[in-house]
């Protein structure tokens, strides 16, 4: 298209857009609301997904875990591994690995004088656990472990109430040593934590790693190594390097394999955002086609005139597509602004404690943090522009194919 013709086409498209300003404004508003809804919904879902992923990965923890090959099938202390050394240690010190923690993780029983419960005992090194972000964030009473030699025990609030025990009281910790004998030890509850999910509070108790290793008689061996790069979507790019570096008898698993529920949830949600956007757009498209078809209908004579003056069909088509593009562009701008304005204030969190237990089923906490992401804005823009132009093609095509004489002689 020549430059001059482009400018005349854009002038015509813009001015024609405002000839029936009421119709244009209504359509503009409809597009803006549609776009707003697309982005708002996507932000809510992304917030929910992020939250679930965060909780899920904190519980695993890490984006990649290294175990003795049999451990996942039989999470017993017998299936332990030596702490990372040699090539694996070097690989773990390199980016993109941000942090890692080696821990003992065994099934255990905690008994108070009143009751006992089965739990997962985590023997941890507080400093490295803190680096991968897996420690309970909220210590309600007492303190967390000081170092891996700490001989105290940190339990969840829910477990404390079920066992009818309290801070400073002694409980008995029982587990199995590699010889299948029961190893037990009296420990003092030094801290009570609160977690986002009650299930977590019931499940996990924390003790110093060296103390647990001593109790189980396993020297410096550990159950798992949790590794994080702080980007769960990128895990497939770097975990193969680790897999290559571990020796015989160990396995490296990314979170997508460790928790297939999280993995499928992520892909379903990503797909769902797109489906939602397309559906909203389809409802919009009827109005869009209608508006454009009316615009063509009202201007048949004018289009005939332009054809008579030598405007080629391609320019007529271009003019109408451009008019539609202006409308879509304005609607998108307005919709994105609306989304920005409505999501920003909500980013500090929406209180959903009213449905907290329902959300807990999905691995959510009591607050929903909508997450406005550029990709969602870009995706909605792409959906609106691409599908919008496709929908506009039909009326625009009809306009371009008008017979000049028929068009000129049309009476309004």
């Amino acid at each position: 298209m020549k430059r001059g013709s482009l400018s005349v086409v854009s002038t015509l498209a813009w001015r024609n857009l405002w000839r029936n300003h009421r119709r244009t404004l209504i359509m503009l508003l409809a597009i803006a609301i549609g776009v707003w809804a697309m982005i708002f919904m996507a932000a809510l879902m992304r917030g929910m997904t992020d939250e679930m992923m965060r909780n899920g990965l904190n519980n695993l923890p890490g984006e990649v875990q290294i175990h003795q090959a049999n451990y996942r099938d039989d999470p017993s202390v017998a299936n332990s591994m030596a702490p990372p050394a040699g090539e694996l240690a070097r690989e773990l010190a390199r980016p993109p690995v941000a942090a890692w923690a080696a821990r003992v993780r065994v099934p255990a029983v905690v008994a108070s004088e009143r009751d006992s419960r089965g739990v997962t005992l985590l023997g941890v090194d507080p400093a490295s656990e803190r680096a991968i972000g897996s420690l309970p964030g909220d210590i309600q009473e007492g303190r967390f472990l000081e170092d891996e030699h700490d001989r105290g025990l940190v339990i969840g609030r829910k477990l404390a109430s079920r066992l009818e025990t309290a801070l400073g009281k002694r409980v008995v910790l029982m587990s199995q040593d590699p010889q299948n004998d029961i190893a037990d030890r009296g420990v003092r509850v030094v801290g009570i934590y609160r977690a986002r999910l009650e299930g977590t509070e019931d499940q996990f108790v924390y003790a110093g790693r060296a103390a647990v290793q001593e109790m189980l008689g396993i020297g410096d061996r550990v159950s798992e190594v949790a590794v994080t790069a702080h980007d769960y979507r990128a895990v497939d790019r770097w975990y193969p390097q680790l897999a290559a570096a571990v020796g015989q008898g160990l396995e490296v698993a990314p979170w997508t394999e460790l928790d297939s529920f999280l993995a499928s949830y992520l892909s379903v949600q990503d797909g769902f955002s797109l489906v939602f956007m397309v559906v909203v757009f389809l409802v919009l498209s009827f109005g869009l086609v209608n508006t454009l078809a009316m615009a063509v209908f009202e201007r048949v004579r004018e289009i005939g005139l332009m054809q008579a003056l030598g405007m080629p069909p391609s320019l007529i088509l271009g003019q109408l597509l451009l008019e539609s593009l202006y409308l879509l562009g304005l609607g998108l701008a307005l919709g994105n602004l609306l989304a920005l304005a409505s999501i920003r204030p909500l980013e500090s969190g929406i209180d959903i404690s009213a449905v907290a237990q329902g959300m807990e089923m999905m691995g959510m906490g009591t607050t929903l943090y909508p997450a406005l992401a550029l990709t969602d804005m870009a995706m909605s823009t792409a959906v609106v522009i691409v599908l919008g132009l496709l929908a506009s093609l039909l009326p625009a095509w009809r306009a371009a194919r008008l017979e000049p004489v028929t068009a000129l002689n049309t009476t309004m």
């Binding site: 029936n20 009421r22 119709r23 209504i26 359509m27 508003l29 409809a30 609301i33 549609g34 809804a37 919904m41 809510l44 039989d74 999470p75 017993s76 099934p107 255990a108 029983v109 009143r114 009751d115 006992s116 089965g118 109430s161 079920r162 009818e164 029982m174 587990s175 299948n180 029961i182 297939s260 529920f261 993995a263 499928s264 949830y265 892909s267 379903v268 797909g271 939602f276 559906v279 909203v280 409802v283 919009l284 009827f286 109005g287 086609v289 209608n290 508006t291 078809a293 009316m294 209908f297 959903i352 009213a354 449905v355 907290a356 237990q357 329902g358 959300m359 807990e360 089923m361 999905m362």
Partner: protein, 409 residues
């Protein structure tokens, strides 16, 4: 009257393409609403049924406070007799007594802390679907004593198979030391790790003996034929509770509060979707009707000068909208009904649904539930939205002056 309707109908077809596009928007929206609502109703029903059927039942009778603390001593006395009483009062067989105790289960090689569940072998299959999931061996039978059925993951972790023995160590109701040995007679596999890791069921009588329970248990589980009958049954049961005991009757909502909330939160996001769709359709109608009013200014001027009142013209526009909306409703409901009827027969799957469904005790395929509510609720609101959208164009008619209107191009 009929002349006006006829006029309204003909006016619609002056721009048949425009009318069809607007009707098309309504039909599309209606079909979508019908599909989504019936899918939702279908899946909620299924979610509730499946979740409750697995283990918790519709109603339970427990000691007050047991739900929250789950302590060994919070018991229901004479639990089997109470269960029998409930059976006769409600006239249903689907009632079973249970006890629950923590114990350290040890095989030759492994030890795990488990929640040991004492059940009535003759009644448990009537209140829970777990007995039906035994994949190896058999479920408990009446008369069994030292037998146990465990989940597949637990069996793997304990490294036990059928016929092998498990030792249990725990504490009885009075805090005394308890121990027992049971033989694995069945291994059940649900496909859900959480269940397969935790199930350990023994006969109630053996359970009571081992844990010094006397005739006590922890709960009476009741399944009623229909969710709607729960409140009525709860009322009946409250009346029959033995005096002097602090027992309470809990319905499914109290037993699994997460379930209703999960539904509520899902409904909230669904509402958002519905409102957006309906608003967008209303805009489409608003645009169409405004256009049709504006382009007929001259014609309306003539009608005014012939003595028609603005109110009558506004009514004409309203009638046109109503006809259009009725068409959208009729076609939408027809297509929506066909679609959902078809899907309710063959089911509907979304890639990745299986895993998510499992978490909520749902199958991977979903079957929409076709009902009058799901068919008409959405489309009716669309009609309402369309009529609301016609208000602005209709109001413009009251500002019309005949002479100016006739002069308008």
């Amino acid at each position: 009257m009929s002349v006006t309707w006829r006029l309204a109908w003909r006016n619609l077809w002056r721009h048949s393409r425009r009318t069809w596009l607007t009707v098309g928007a309504m039909v599309f929206c209606n079909v979508l609403l019908i599909f989504l609502i019936s899918l939702q109703l279908g899946s909620y029903q299924m979610m509730i049924d499946n979740s409750l059927a697995t283990y918790s039942g519709h109603i339970q009778i427990q000691q007050r406070g047991y739900l929250e603390d789950q302590q060994m001593r919070q018991t229901v006395p004479a639990v089997a007799r109470l269960a029998a009483g409930v059976r006769s009062v409600l006239g249903v067989e689907t009632v079973s007594a249970r006890g629950l105790a923590f114990a350290l289960a040890s095989s030759e090689q492994r030890s795990f802390g488990v929640l040991l569940n004492g059940v009535q072998p003759e009644f448990e299959p009537a209140v829970s679907t777990l007995p039906g999931l035994v994949r190896q061996g058999r479920y408990l039978a009446p008369g069994d004593r030292g037998q146990i059925v465990i989940g597949a993951v637990l069996a793997r972790n304990l490294k036990v198979g059928l016929g092998e023995e498990l030792t249990f160590l725990g504490s009885g109701r009075d805090g005394s030391f308890s121990a027992g040995v049971a033989t694995v007679v069945g291994i059940l596999e649900s496909g859900m790790d959480e269940i397969d890791r935790s199930v350990a069921q023994v006969p109630l009588s053996w359970f009571q003996e081992t844990f010094s329970m006397g005739d006590h248990g922890h709960s009476v589980v009741i399944r009623v034929p229909d969710l709607d009958r729960v409140p009525e049954a709860v009322q009946t049961l409250q009346g029959m509770l033995p005096a002097g005991e602090s027992l309470e009757v809990l319905d499914w909502n109290a037993l699994q509060p997460g379930l209703r909330q999960a539904i509520t939160s899902d409904l909230a996001s669904a509402w958002f979707t519905y409102v957006v769709l309906i608003v967008l359709v209303a805009f489409s109608v608003l645009n169409t009707q405004l256009m049709s009013v504006l382009e007929r200014t001259r014609e309306f001027g003539v009608m005014l000068s012939l003595g028609m009142r603005p109110g009558q013209l506004a009514r004409l526009v309203g009638m046109e909208t109503l006809l259009m909306a009725a068409l959208g409703l009729g076609l939408g409901v027809l297509l929506g009904a066909l679609l959902t009827q078809y899907l309710s027969a063959v089911g509907f799957a979304y890639p990745g649904m299986d895993e998510l469904g499992a978490k909520f005790n749902m199958p991977g395929r979903m079957y929409p539930e076709v009902s009058l509510l799901s068919l008409f609720w959405g489309p009716a609101v669309v009609v309402l939205g369309a009529l609301l959208a016609a208000i602005y164009p209709a109001l413009r008619l009251f500002r019309l002056a005949p002479v100016e209107a006739m002069r308008a191009a």
